[in-house]
């Protein structure tokens, strides 16, 4: 099993979800995140004092999937999350040794 972690622009969440669903990914876990990178933040001014807001809102997705689907799904995520502008995010893959569905105790392929 693999764990795909994707950090993307928030408004791309639904596009990505819809895209991976066609590959049979029916579950994922989503967290709010902030990103720091090439994309620059913006400036806010409060009573004349300027603040640079460098952290940019992102969404972080985690999907545990089967090994053989991995490359395809990464490709699908990249494609559906792409706007071509700086800050589109990253996708990375890490190995998973086992996964369990809490409700049933099912393991690995049966668990996702």
């Amino acid at each position: 099993m693999k764990l795909i972690t994707a950090v993307i622009k928030p408004h791309k969440l639904e596009d990505v979800r819809a895209a991976v669903e066609t590959f049979g990914v029916t579950g994922m876990t989503v967290t709010e995140a902030s990103g720091y990178g090439r994309q620059k933040g913006h400036t806010e001014v409060y009573r004349g004092a300027e603040y640079d807001i460098a952290l940019i809102p992102k969404v972080r997705l985690e999907m545990v999937i089967e090994d053989d689907e991995c490359d395809d799904i990464v490709g699908v995520i990249v494609k559906s999350a792409q706007t071509g502008r700086i800050g589109d995010g990253k996708v990375w893959v890490t190995p998973v040794e086992s996964v369990v569905r809490v409700r049933t105790g099912d393991r690995d392929a049966d668990a996702v």
Partner: protein, 456 residues
């Protein structure tokens, strides 16, 4: 001069002033968290612009003697209001030299100022999330001058009150509009519709969820609006008398009935009676009873309220059917509610009320009904057409709508350079990457130059 009447009108003026910040909260809670500040600033900005104009020439245009064949009061007659100053001094108890009925003219100035302000602010609900703030400020000035001041003259300037010759709706057509169902609500509602059409739909409308980001804020707003509205309606008696008391009770009970009406409609239709529905029902009831509050019995007020609650709850869906993005339902609540109340007087008006005549259901025939309908229709048409022209002209010249990227980012950060909330337990107020603070304005470049990209 009567000190009790003056006390009540001054109190009422303060109450009505509070309504606009209340509206800012009511509207602000309904938009997404990325535009709440902009939404609130449209109301606050309207206070600033209209307040100054009112003192300069607005009051004069609304309550000065007819010029232009009755279109409007003379803008120069009371310019700057200096003519209304002057009291009898300490020994004379500072009694005002200029009166409107039993109160100082200046009290009437203040009371009517806040009417002008909130009418303009109401419109902003129709164009949430997408208007340029600078253009909005220009719009408020033009709209107040070209639309509100004339309409207020027609409806509120009674012959012999401030000036000798007042407006045609009040004095000739004899439409009953005690506190502004036409001049305020139908006027703002029609203007909202026109602007919503000019500016077009928000990006993602009907596709993205644009649910209210802070319903307790909406409830605070609704509470303050209700509170202030007693000044709006009962203060319009311009005296602390039996009429004001009747109006007060009608305002209370119609609102209660409207809230129940809206909630029942929702429960039946959607399966849930919502808090947004409760708050909306409150406003719908207040709108509807506004023109009618001195012309109906408490039972009549219950009827008007309940009908307004149900009809407005249904009317807020019209925008989806007809495809205009009246974002916060200025049409569904203020235009529809205003019509229900104004026309409703023609049905349930009663002569036992202090300023009422018998309506159709009280055996009074259709005489008052057509007066009500014509008054409502005239204001609606005038406001819609003029607003459409003003909005269109602004859009074509200085631009009224922000560009798509800015709209997606949210107007708070793009236009105002602010974020409404910073509730992060962890980041809040700790240094975050790159959070350098430039405070010496002499050396720092202007903020606008630094903005690079906020389109995430």
């Amino acid at each position: 001069m009567n000190s009790g009447d003056t006390a009540w009108v001054l109190t009422s003026a303060a109450l009505v002033l509070l309504m606009t910040p209340g509206l800012a909260l009511f509207y602000g809670g309904m938009v997404r968290s990325k535009t709440v500040l902009n939404m609130m600033m449209m109301s606050f900005g309207a206070i600033g612009v209209v307040g100054v104009l009112w003192v300069l020439y607005g009051y004069s245009m609304a309550f000065g003697d007819d010029v232009g064949g009755g279109l409007v009061g003379s803008p120069t007659e009371l310019f700057g209001l200096t003519a209304l100053m002057g009291t009898d001094g300490l020994e004379g108890g500072f009694v005002s030299k200029e009166l409107v009925f039993t109160i100082p003219s200046m009290a009437f100035v203040a009371f009517q100022a806040v009417f002008a302000i909130i009418t303009v602010a109401l419109i902003s609900g129709a164009i949430a999330d997408r208007a340029r703030f600078g253009t909005w400020m220009v719009f408020t000035a033009i709209w107040a001058t070209v639309v509100y001041f004339p309409v207020a003259h027609w409806v509120f300037a009674f012959d012999g009150a401030e000036s000798e010759v007042g407006g045609w709706i009040a004095n000739r057509l004899l439409t009953i509009d005690f506190a502004g169902g036409t001049a305020v609500h139908i006027n703002a509602g029609a203007a909202g519709l026109a602007l919503a059409l000019v500016l077009g739909k928000r990006v993602g409308w009907k596709r993205d969820p644009m649910r209210p980001h802070n319903l307790p804020l909406v409830m605070i707003g609704a509470g303050l609006l209700w509170f202030g509205w007693f000044g709006f309606n009962a203060g319009s008696a311009l005296a602390a008398n039996g009429q004001a008391a009747e109006v007060f009770v009608n305002t209370l009970v119609a609102t209660c009935a409207a809230m129940l009406g809206w909630l029942v409609t929702e429960r039946v239709r959607d399966g849930h009676a919502t808090s947004l529905g409760g708050a909306s029902g409150v406003v719908a009831g207040l709108v509807a009873i506004t023109p009618a509050c001195s012309a109906v019995s408490p039972s009549g007020a219950i009827v008007i309220g309940a009908v307004a609650g149900v009809l407005c709850a249904l009317a807020v869906g019209l925008k989806y059917r007809f495809g205009y993005d009246d974002s916060l339902d200025v049409v569904g609540v203020h235009l529809v509610g205003g019509i229900v109340g104004t026309v409703g007087v023609g049905f349930v008006g009663t002569a036992i009320a202090s300023a009422g005549v018998d309506g159709l259901l009280y055996g009074g025939g259709v005489d008052q009904l057509w007066r009500q309908a014509v008054g409502a229709g005239a204001v609606l048409a005038y406001s819609f057409v003029l607003t459409f022209v003003i909005g269109y002209a602004l859009q074509r010249t200085i631009g009224f709508r922000v560009d798509e990227d800015d709209e997606a980012s949210g107007l708070d950060s793009v236009v105002h350079g602010e974020t409404a909330y910073d509730l992060h337990q962890t980041f809040g107020g700790v240094r975050t990457p790159g959070a350098a603070i430039a405070t010496d304005r002499a050396t720092a470049p202007a903020g606008a130059d630094k903005k690079e990209s906020v389109e995430a």
